[in-house]
């Protein structure tokens, strides 16, 4: 019998560790930096995230794991840096990096406390980076909470804004309820199987009709509920629009991408790795959930009126619910497929595409919000005349989300999801998704068309909201775009264009087994 002390592979755990350490550095540095030099904190954050991203490079073989059990016969590790982990960590760190770029100018504009902000963002990113690597239920829950708790505070950052604190409270309460339910589920699963390690859980789950069968089934169901909340699946989606509207825009962007990635990763891990023998239970359940989620999100997005305040953010929020539905489809298909690891690759590929273009769309929204803070869709009218590059970029991002050329990557990401569904024999789900894609096309296209409408009619439109500059003449030269914001937009656009030319870069995850 070997030693009880588990060895630690520091290189393998570097990505989340670096992020967490930088978070602490920022928090401490905030105490000692004079007010004028606070922007330095942003630089530290960006550098830390880049460093964490670079630390993925030595792991590319994807064969490391650590915190392994030394006593039991079957190998079981709590932390595994396989290809799945690396891809998701890349997504999370990249998403956090883009969010950080978006945040720089907002921090100045809204006088947000920068030390706390960066600390919270990095902590949440550290949790999100830990989550895909965790291979036992305890680590999974801890990582999930590390990712979520700072997010509540981030949502409530705008302390002078009543909406912001309300959004934070709403988010907090519903999230905590979900966590409690999930913990109950995890404890049931533990009681039924006697292990927390996912692979051992998979082996130890009792079959139907046995004494512990009901307990295990309840545990599985309750655990899934918690992750369904994180992914904003129906019926746990009501917090999304209010939270996105109340949160600072970069935080909404962060939640829409990294928050979702966290939920999906957890869902994939518990379904495919931990509960494969219950595929006949969660497969159909997730399929129904996917259909409901995409329909609810898209129908609600369709109903956004262009002239209402916050309609742009609300539309993005609802559309992210719809996109969550598409992301669920391959996971549901994994329940029917003989080769589940293969199907979830489609989700990963889609999530990568979605992360790049959705953050890009939020970046342009952040830019537009600088001149018209009401976040109305109507503010985007004639954007092409004012800022041609930003309008072209947003048009491209929206068409990627819609899945229409020239957004080729969006189209093929949808195709992989469709083919996962058709492959698994889920024809009805593919048909529901097809209808949803058309609904989504309608509102994405409407927004895109708005960008290129002539701007002069804007003057005639009643200036309904307060806070809008009355004399915004089209001839007036637009204010300079802050460099970080421009960098975020350019980065997202470049990613989208490169991927459109070479979709294989992300779609290969859909063909190779990741887990």
């Amino acid at each position: 019998m070997g030693s009880l002390v588990q060895s630690v592979d520091w290189l393998a755990i570097a990505p989340p560790t670096i992020t967490a350490v930088v978070a602490l550095v920022v928090l401490v540095a905030d105490l000692f930096l004079p007010e004028g030099r606070k922007p330095l904190l942003g630089l530290i954050t960006l550098a830390g995230l880049v460093l964490a991203g670079l630390s993925l490079l030595p792991l590319l073989d994807g064969d490391r794991s650590t915190f392994c059990l030394t006593t039991s016969g079957t190998p079981a590790c709590s932390y595994t840096a396989d290809h799945f982990t690396l891809v998701i960590q890349f997504l999370v760190l990249g998403g956090a990096l883009l969010t950080a770029l978006l945040s720089v100018s907002d921090l100045v504009d809204f006088k947000l406390p920068s030390g706390e902000y960066w600390f919270l963002l990095l902590s949440s990113a550290a949790g999100a980076a830990l989550l895909p690597a965790s291979r036992d239920l305890a680590t999974l829950v801890v990582a999930l909470e590390v990712a979520s708790l700072p997010a509540f505070a981030l949502v409530g950052m705008r302390r002078d804004d009543r909406k912001s604190s309300e959004a934070a409270l709403k988010f907090f309460l519903s999230s905590v309820t979900a966590t409690a339910v999930m913990l109950l589920g995890v404890s049931f699963v533990y009681a039924a199987t006697g292990s927390l390690h996912l692979t051992q859980v998979a082996g130890g789950l009792p079959g139907d009709g046995t004494r512990l069968g009901v307990l295990a089934q309840t545990g599985v169901a309750l655990t899934l509920v918690g992750f369904a909340f994180k992914t904003a699946a129906v019926p746990f989606h009501f917090w999304v629009p209010d939270t996105y509207v109340g949160a600072p825009l970069p935080v909404a962007a962060y939640l829409s991408v990294v928050g979702k990635a966290v939920g999906f990763t957890g869902l994939i891990l518990v379904t495919v790795v931990a509960f494969p023998s219950y595929a006949d239970v969660w497969g159909p359940a997730l399929a129904v959930l996917a259909a409901l989620t995409m329909t609810a999100g898209n129908v609600a997005a369709l109903r956004q009126r262009a002239d209402r305040a916050h309609s742009a953010v609300r539309l993005l929020a609802w559309s992210s619910v719809g996109q969550a539905g598409y992301l669920l489809v391959p996971i549901a298909a994994a329940g029917y497929d003989g080769d589940p690891a293969h199907a979830v690759g489609s989700t990963v590929a889609y999530a990568l595409m979605y992360a790049a273009v959705n953050l890009g769309a939020f970046a342009v929204a952040g830019l537009v919000a600088r001149t018209s803070p009401a976040h109305r869709l109507a503010d985007y009218r004639g954007l092409y005349a004012r800022r041609p590059l930003a309008a072209l970029a947003l048009g491209f991002f929206l068409l990627c989300l819609a899945g229409l050329p020239p957004g080729i990557i969006g189209l093929f990401a949808k195709v992989t999801v469709f083919s996962a569904a058709v492959d698994a024999g889920l024809g009805w789900l593919a048909a529901v998704m097809a209808v949803n894609v058309v609904i989504a096309l309608y509102y994405y296209l409407q927004w895109t068309a708005l960008l290129f409408r002539p701007a002069e009619e804007k003057a005639a439109a009643p200036a309904a909201t307060a806070g809008e500059e009355p004399g915004e003449a089209p001839a007036e030269a637009p204010a300079r775009v802050p460099l970080p914001l421009a960098a975020a937009m350019a980065l997202a656009a470049a990613l989208g264009i490169v991927l459109s030319g070479a979709p294989q870069l992300v779609l290969r995850f859909a063909s190779g087994a990741l887990l």
Binding site: L411, T416, V422, V437, V438, A510, G512
Partner: protein, 524 residues
């Protein structure tokens, strides 16, 4: 010509318009600035489309006319191995005429716009959109991979949407929305069908799938696939009753938009039937063929009847709308030819495709010219109580309009005749296993449709071209500008080709026939 040269020619044909579209958005380089930026970009459009036309003509010249059934100039490189999508390009006798037609019509449209830019925002975006549209259309005729076909099919939507919505006439926003939503709804369904074929058949490669000739697809799969793919293609074609987006789109679109929509975009639907549905899922196609034929014949009769009612005095019929509905009828003949599943019928369908592109393209140009001169295309407002007397006021324009109308009604000796005759001939003896009585009925109805077509076309000619003050005196002196030089330049090729295709149909049929027989036999 060597294989490599053909390869590069074909690839350049597809890529050049895209590069041109990007270049159109950039500021003009020094030396090409022209009189002003607008003129420079319009000239750029003419240059690029002209170069593309030259490329396709070179392609046609280098095409091995002795073996039109063989794919030529093929490129086959892996693009997205994850999905098994390959960049597989090639032309055969079916696609070559469509490629040349597309390049020709786009060039003529660019030329026409150079002199007569439709009212709307800057020509920069206009030229870029036309070029993207051209690239998408050309690609859909040249690709041999199901997913690439879908990509090309979708690629034309955004440009066409903006062409209608930005440069169109009354009711353009609504018309553009209808156009894009109908087509999208159809194409998403089509995507599911294509995926089904690809997954069950094991490849997205059209040539490989055609060679299998459906042997790897079960009957149920074929039925579902044909239904799904057929709906997408039928919306585009358009087949009655999925046609209702077409009249609005045509009426609202600017002249060049209508020309391209009718001339080449509709052909993507019928081409898809011939290239994908017939060879890849023959059993499914066989089952649905009678229904397709029935819908096609209803389309023929329906289109003609609507045209007749639009042409009546006092009906406030719009000429553009009338030509659009006549398209529904003509495309009905194409679909009927395809539904017979015989070489005769399919050849007729392909011939009618090209003829319709030439003639309806010409008609939309002419109607656009009439609308520009009168400020309206309302038939009642045009003709008044006595007829518009175009023969008297603008004899050349009147003559051309009469020529277009006569060609459209299928006068022997002009392009419109052969396709429709062959389509009907095909349904006289449909493929084995198809109900002969049903197809004989369809043939009779289609024949009746040609009569109706003749009737409304002649009414239009009488009301627009003829007329006078009703007392035997000659029509009032010309007060309208007659055909201008640039209009002649844009229209003459269409007139010449219409006559040429009518007098020498073998040139086209010799290309399509071997390729069609091969497709119907299962690609070998």
């Amino acid at each position: 010509m060597s294989h490599t040269v053909m390869q590069y020619l074909l690839a350049a044909t597809l890529v050049l318009p895209l590069l041109g579209a990007v270049a159109a958005l950039l500021p003009a380089p020094p030396g090409l600035k022209g009189r002003d930026p607008e003129q420079a970009v319009l000239r750029h459009g003419v240059t690029v489309t002209g170069a593309v036309l030259a490329l396709t003509i070179a392609l046609a010249a280098g095409f091995d006319h002795d073996r039109p059934a063989r794919m030529q100039g093929t490129t086959d490189i892996s693009w997205i191995p994850a999905l098994g999508i390959r960049i597989h390009l090639g032309v055969d006798g079916v696609s070559l005429p469509l490629l040349v037609l597309t390049a020709l019509l786009t060039f003529l449209c660019a030329l026409y716009s150079y002199f007569k830019m439709p009212a709307g925002p800057s020509p920069k975006a206009f030229v870029a959109l036309i070029l993207v549209l051209e690239s998408g259309t050309l690609a859909s005729f040249a690709v041999l991979d199901l997913m690439l076909f879908f990509l090309a099919f979708e690629m034309v939507l955004i440009p066409m949407y903006f062409l209608i919505a930005r440069w169109g006439g009354d009711g353009r926003e609504r018309a553009a929305w209808r156009f894009i939503l109908y087509t999208l709804l159809g194409s998403v369904v089509m995507l599911l069908g294509l995926l089904l074929v690809g997954i069950k058949g094991g490849t997205f490669d059209m040539v490989a799938l055609a060679t299998d000739n459906g042997s790897k697809l079960s009957r149920t799969t074929q039925l579902i696939a044909v239904l799904a793919i057929g709906v997408g293609l039928a919306v585009k074609a358009p087949m009655w009753p999925l046609h209702s987006w077409l009249p609005d789109a045509h009426t609202a679109a600017p002249t060049v938009g209508s020309v391209l929509l009718a001339g080449v975009l509709l052909k993507m639907g019928t081409y898809g039937f011939v290239r994908i549905v017939l060879p890849i899922a023959p059993e499914g196609a066989h089952t649905f063929a009678p229904y397709l034929a029935a819908f096609a014949v209803v389309g023929i009769i329906y289109g003609s009847l609507v045209c007749l009612s639009l042409a009546r005095t006092g009906a406030k019929g719009d000429l553009k709308r009338l030509v659009a509905y006549s398209s529904v009828g003509h495309m009905g003949f194409v679909l009927l030819g395809i539904a017979t599943m015989t070489p005769t019928g399919v050849n007729g369908a392909l011939f009618a495709n090209i003829a319709h592109g030439l003639i309806t393209g010409l008609l939309f140009f002419l109607v656009g010219a009439v609308k520009d001169r009168y400020g309206t295309s309302d038939l009642d407002a045009l003709s008044g109580a006595t007829g518009a007397a175009l023969y008297g006021k603008a004899p050349r324009l009147g003559g051309l309009l009469a020529f277009g109308a006569v060609a459209s009604l299928g006068l022997p000796g002009l392009a419109g005749f052969w396709g429709e005759m062959l389509a009907m001939f095909g349904s006289f003896r449909p493929a084995e296993g198809l109900s002969r009585p049903a197809f004989l009925t369809f043939m009779a109805l289609a024949g009746f449709g040609t009569l109706l077509t003749a009737a409304y076309m002649l009414i239009v000619v009488r009301r627009v071209c003829m007329g006078g003050d009703g007392e035997g005196r000659p029509a009032p002196a010309p007060e309208l500008a007659d055909v201008r030089t640039y209009e002649f330049a844009a229209w003459t090729p269409l007139v010449v080709l219409t006559v040429l295709a009518g007098l020498w149909p073998a040139a086209l049929l010799g290309l399509t026939d071997p390729a069609v027989s091969q497709l119907l036999r299962g690609g070998n």
